[in-house]
């Protein structure tokens, strides 16, 4: 299981990496959206967990760039969006990509972790 974690809150990034690795995943991390684009175009991941409000660009920009490599269906399965701003606009936009949106802080950390690993298909 290859996971790319794009999160600019370092403590959160570190903890999530550790937790996911405990569950047996290989986790690559970055704080920058541009770097994330580079990584996802040059390497292959089974999951990309992406924060929306990054320092340089938005998580949606990352998804847009991913269209160069993946189909829309692949994107909807590949990406999971994390955000502390789960406004209606954000949810609507995420819906256009078919991606799951996880609000921060997570209500149930274990549920969220398994979602990251197993994918968003069975998640309501």
């Amino acid at each position: 299981m290859n996971i790319l974690l794009v999160e600019d809150e370092l403590l959160l990034q570190k903890s999530l990496k550790k937790l996911l690795e405990k569950k047996g995943a290989t986790v690559k991390v970055t704080t920058s959206g541009r770097e994330a684009i580079n990584l996802l175009l040059n390497e292959n991941f089974n999951r990309i967990v992406c924060d929306l409000m990054l320092q340089d660009i938005s998580g949606f920009n990352v998804i847009e760039e991913a269209k160069k490599k993946y189909t829309l269906l692949e994107i909807s399965n590949l990406f999971i969006i994390m955000t502390a701003y789960s406004s209606k606009q954000v949810l609507d936009k995420a819906d256009t990509y078919g991606c799951k949106v996880i609000s921060k802080p997570f209500e149930d950390i274990n549920h969220t972790l398994s979602l990251f690993i197993e994918g968003g298909l069975n998640y309501e």
């Binding site: 809150e9 403590l11 959160l12 990034q13 903890s15 550790k18 502390a84 921060k104 802080p105 950390i109």
Partner: protein, 601 residues
């Protein structure tokens, strides 16, 4: 041939016309001769009023001064040596004539001025002479007709009171009697559209808007043209209503660009005379046009300004220098003052916030409150993320750590992070305008509200008391948690601040929140009261305590209780207060109606 670049030629050409004009249609046999001579004299002096030309000639050691009226004269005096002789001869021949007719003109001593470049000038004069001889009487007449004298100009300009009238007055000029249409395009600089006034003779004025891009296109073409004479092959534009050939001219004013177009709607080009007249009329109307347009602009501005004042949220009055109020946006009837009066005179703008106390709004305070809401929202998002990271990391480290001491400290960090998050969430909930009613445990809500007031109530004892019939654990009501929490929050904050203001010794001070169930007839009410041990409410405040901006605190907005009042009404309840006589302090309560719908337990 004629050197057309010599400016003097043009002047002399004008001069000759003047001469002819002066002589008019006099059938006297002296006419031709006089004409010749005057064309050679070419000596023109301009009178002080610049309205007339003065012709000077010498005769029998006298100079003869003959005045001709014309508004366009702007010529320098020129006299040629041989013309003196000619004139002398002429006067000799026609002495009789002059004695009768022109001697009314003044005679004065005169030394003729001889110009050196006699040769070149003489050449030009000859040309002019030739031209004049070619002229026929009717031409002379038509030239005369085409010239507007000062009185005519004044008459014309005084007729133009509004811009809308201008096309009509232009077409009414006898010089344009064959013209069928006049169109004026006005572009106020900065606007995206220009206005078009189009008048066909005998019809009503048509106003329309045209795009500024179209306007600029037309403007550029007209500006580049020297003759200002156009036909449709040069300038075909749907926005121009003219047909055939037409005269057009652009005018640039301080705030407007204007294009004036006149046309006979036929294919014969305008004569040179008409062209010249057109230029002249444009010159004359430019000034009045600018005034008209600026006046129109300032009227528009004043209208908008007045409208803005009348609808301004802040009530205010304008007083004249005698402090007499004559404009107030709170009154329906305003006195009859025009806007210019307000601007011109040194009136005082007086802010009157309390002319209608119930509806007056202090923009500043409301801005502050709404800003606070926005700030809280931002804070929530900006703090939630790092707090979440902190908590998660602390939790992880607990599992990794072997030292009990570490584990305990990390546990504290985690708990406190959670607490911070809760506070932030609760705070932002307070400012969220939720209209939904939910079932909630009242005791829990009151406790959470108390947590929010922690910094204000520090050191003061607090207690939540439920009357016997109600269970703290199970008592649930259906209400709006945000509104209810805000009311209780304000009550507690007020109590705490009142206590702190009255005494530094907080040991015996107490804030009690009491919840009781009351029955009145068949109706059941829930009463939530906040009682404190502070100084109580001053008599003079009792009347106006729920009015906005009434505050006893230095930093207060005076909005707390007025918001409570408003929210209680929204919840369908009543708000009241009393001093705890004979005990110290005050009690603020809300009474909410309870029925099967909102009472769960």
């Amino acid at each position: 041939m004629e050197n057309s670049s010599n400016p003097r030629i043009k002047k002399i050409q004008k001069n000759t016309r003047l001469t002819v004009h002066f002589l008019g249609s006099n059938p006297d046999p002296s006419f031709a001769k006089l004409k010749t001579i005057f064309s050679k004299i070419s000596f023109i002096n301009i009178s002080e009023e610049k309205e007339s030309a003065v012709f000077l000639a010498t005769y029998l050691d006298h100079s003869i001064k003959i005045t001709s009226n014309h508004p366009l004269i702007d010529l320098q005096p020129v006299i040629l040596p041989d013309s003196i002789q000619l004139l002398a001869n002429f006067f000799k021949d026609y002495q009789h004539y002059f004695c009768n007719k022109v001697t009314t003109a003044s005679f004065q001593s005169f030394t003729p001025l001889v110009i050196r470049q006699h040769k070149t000038l003489d050449h030009h004069i000859k040309k002019i002479e030739f031209n004049i001889l070619k002229n026929k009487t009717y031409q002379v007449e038509s030239i005369k007709n085409m010239i507007m004298d000062k009185i005519e100009v004044k008459k014309f300009l005084s007729k133009c009171i509004t811009i809308d009238d201008l096309p009509l007055h232009i077409l009414k000029l006898h010089q344009f009697k064959n013209y069928k249409t006049c169109q004026i395009l006005i572009h106020e600089k900065g606007n995206t559209a220009a206005e078009s006034l189009f008048l066909s003779k005998g019809q009503t004025l048509v106003t329309s808007k045209i795009l500024v891009t179209q306007f600029n296109k037309i403007h550029t073409i007209i500006k580049k043209s020297k003759t200002k004479l156009f036909n449709q092959t040069q300038l075909l534009n749907n926005d121009l209503g003219v047909r055939g050939t037409f005269l057009a001219r652009e005018i640039n004013l301080s705030k407007h660009s204007i294009i004036i177009v006149v046309s006979r709607n036929d294919f014969f080009p305008a004569t040179l005379l008409e062209q010249e007249f057109f230029q002249e009329i444009i010159k004359n109307i430019t000034l009045v046009l600018n005034n008209l347009l600026l006046e129109y602009l300032s009227q528009k501005k004043n209208k908008l300004f007045k409208l803005g004042l009348q609808h301004l949220d802040i009530p205010f009055e304008i007083c004249d220098s005698h402090h007499q109020v004559f404009f107030s946006n709170a009154l329906i009837d305003t006195l009859e003052y025009t806007h210019q009066d307000i601007i011109d005179a040194n009136y005082i703008l007086r802010y009157s916030p309390y002319c209608d106390i119930n509806y007056s709004s202090d923009l500043y305070h409301f801005q502050r409150i709404s800003l606070l809401g926005e700030l809280l929202n931002t804070l929530r998002h900006e703090l939630n993320n790092p707090l979440f990271g902190l908590k998660l990391t602390a939790d992880l480290l607990i599992e990794d750590s072997s030292s009990e001491d570490f584990k305990e400290t990390l546990g504290d960090i985690s708990t406190n992070c959670q607490r911070c998050q809760n506070i932030i969430t609760n705070f932002s909930l307070l400012y969220k305008n939720q209209d939904t009613l939910i079932d909630l445990n009242l005791y829990k809500l009151l406790k959470e509200t108390l947590v929010l007031t922690k910094s204000e109530t520090r050191g003061i004892e607090k207690e939540i008391v439920f009357s016997n019939s109600l269970s703290k654990e199970d008592f649930t009501i259906k209400t709006n948690p945000t509104w209810l929490a805000q009311i209780i929050f304000n009550f507690i904050i007020n109590s705490a601040q009142a206590i702190r203001l009255s005494t530094p010794a907080l040991a015996n001070q107490k804030i009690t929140i009491t919840v009781t169930n009351q029955y009145l007839d068949t109706q059941s009410f829930l009463v939530i009261s906040v009682t404190d041990t502070g100084p109580g409410i001053q008599k003079e405040l009792i009347e106006k305590i729920f009015q906005p901006f009434i505050t006893t605190k230095k930093e207060g907005t005076g909005l707390g209780l007025s918001i409570c009042n408003y929210l209680t009404t929204k919840l369908g309840g009543k708000i009241f207060f009393s001093n705890n006589i004979p005990l110290p302090g005050a009690t603020f309560s809300i009474e909410l109606p309870m029925n099967d719908l909102n009472k769960i337990s």
